[in-house]
Amino acid sequence: MRRTLLSAVGATAIVGMTLALAAPALATTHKKPKPKPDPYVTADTQMTTAASIAGGGSTFAAPLENAAQAYYGARNGNATLAGYQAVGSGAGEVGLLNGSFNYGGTDVPLAQTDINTDAPGKGYTLASFEQVPVGLGGIAMAYNLPGFKSSVHLEFNATIIADIYKGTIKNWNDPAIANLNKAILKTAKVKLPAQPIKYVARADKSGTTYIFTNFLGTAAPSVWTTAPSKNPLTLGTGDVAGSGNQGVAAAVQSNAYSIGYVEYSYLLLNPSLQQGVGAILNKSGKYVVPSPAAIQADAAAKPLVSPATLALYSIVFLPGATAYPISGYTWAVVFKQQTNAAKGTLLVKYLDWLSHSGNPHSTAGQNIAKAQGYVMLPKNIQKLARNTLLSVRGPGNVILLTTTAG
């Protein structure tokens, strides 16, 4: 009995070892199709010398950065991408200024006041930095009204939303909302319920809140008089705040008669949120439902976007028949003058790859962004990113970016 068992074990071991040694040989005999040449990832992005960079900042950009860094690093032998720490836009800027990060991710571009607060006495000005848009997102107004089908998109304008978030409009059947949606309600044969509106906001500091308040202040300046800010909004008695976009999404889904603002990608992640998505009035007088095309149309309406001032980097409420008015970029900030040639080269190559989309046969950062639920940067903005990165210099004032692809 024992001998049979021992011999069985021995036989298995011998067979196993043989297979393990032969496996590579067996594999090559089966012809795998050669991978198509990937001009964007292989040729221009490869590093000749080893370098390592790390980034940190905006949580909105975190899913994109994590996926992009992993993808890029796996295909570039000499490049080490040491991670992206989602510590928030403000902390990202601080990290860049004190040298912990090679690039900072931020939803709100760096301003001189931030530089003065975070790096006093170092003499940096805005001209010491280059800021590149790397992500584009839109903010959906998701609501939870029992009995309303997902094909019904209630229409809102900025004034109504601002009034809701100030507590001026308290009930769903308020005349302002009812009058605006008369035709839609009649067609769908539903009535607005006589229930109080529970609005959901962010409990933590967020770039999403910044874009949202920027939209309200731009499109309804007489009602929303405060400057755009990342701080949590004021809540009324029954209103709820969620931590992170996921928190807001969960709160809207679980509370009947609620409305909240979430990053567009979270609509895709939470299909039950798609029960109620608002159509928002844009500058051309059209009510638009959020979609990648609509958000891109809005972004494309401002090809000369610049991080210098709010008026120049804001893309909310822009004209365009199909433009979705609540949209915004997320930015990567780097020093214009890089002190380390290898790190600087990797930095510009990575950010250039990140801000571009590949041709049909290749994958670049924006293709990964799309897979992660972001909206791809319009082509003109990708060009803008390329031109901005061309201004980044290394030691000896050398232009670091030599990519020509895309």
């Binding site: 607060t117 529970k198 409990a203 029954g238 008669y257």
Partner: protein
Amino acid sequence: MAGVTDTATQAAPSPDLAEGRPRRSAKSDSVYWITLYGVSGIFAVICIGFLLSVVSSSLPAWEKYGTSILTGTVWNQSTGQYGALPLIAGTLETAAIALTLAVPIGIGTALAIVFVLHSRLRTFFSSLVEVLAAVPSVVYGFWGLLVLGPWFASSVEPWLVSLFGGHFPFQDAPSTETILLAGCVLFVMVLPLIVALTRDAIATVPNELVEGALSVGATRWQVLHKVVLPGARVGIVGAITLASARALGETVAIALVIGLNPNFAHSLDSPAATLASIIATEFQDSTPIQVAALGALAVILMAMTLLVNLIGRQMIRRAAIKVTVL
């Protein structure tokens, strides 16, 4: 806690002084003392350093806003108002709900485990309590959000609203995230703690007392009421103190289910906020003055927990003196 007495001050007799053994050299003794003083010194430095650093991080806020932090009723980071009173109220309310439910049920369960249950059930229940006490609190929060919350919103709260006829304390439209839900999640969290500690406290009551009481004709209820509970009073007060400290400081579980609304809770079915949950959610990306304001919240929370501990110790001291013997 059970058995907090002054016996720790008596040092155990050194084995070297036992009869017939030669005394070891004084050198090893001094190494012994130096090591003990050294490690207790490290402990003191860590504790005092920690307390001082938390307090000093909050100083800019105290300088700028003074006592308005303690008396202000509006907590709004965008307008720069840092009144923590609604948060203090929210912390106390959730802890009160949790303890009101957990103390009677916990003590009753402990009494049942020791006196009523069959020995096999007793072991099962004891193990169950130990397992539940070890579950991390974020799991309770997760369960509260996914299971208890929807059930409350769809069944329990509408029923309570109709029960009270739309009057206080259930006069608001039900939410999923409410102070009642947070209190109930906390209740489930502190219940195993109270049961475990009370059971240990009850077990220390000498069996002779119980049997003696029964032998002079006391009913079972009289034995529990007049012998066991008074005898275990010290341990029970300790259990409640520990449970309150846990309830006051609970962070992630509460943040998930309370709605993070820094206003006074209008009714039991409206969202609110606690000190710990606000510190945890609002910390990231804060400006220096915002960090200091959150540090002030931390100081307030520490003071509350310290106060609860001091009250508990005072009650233990008085309870230890009054031991009722039948």
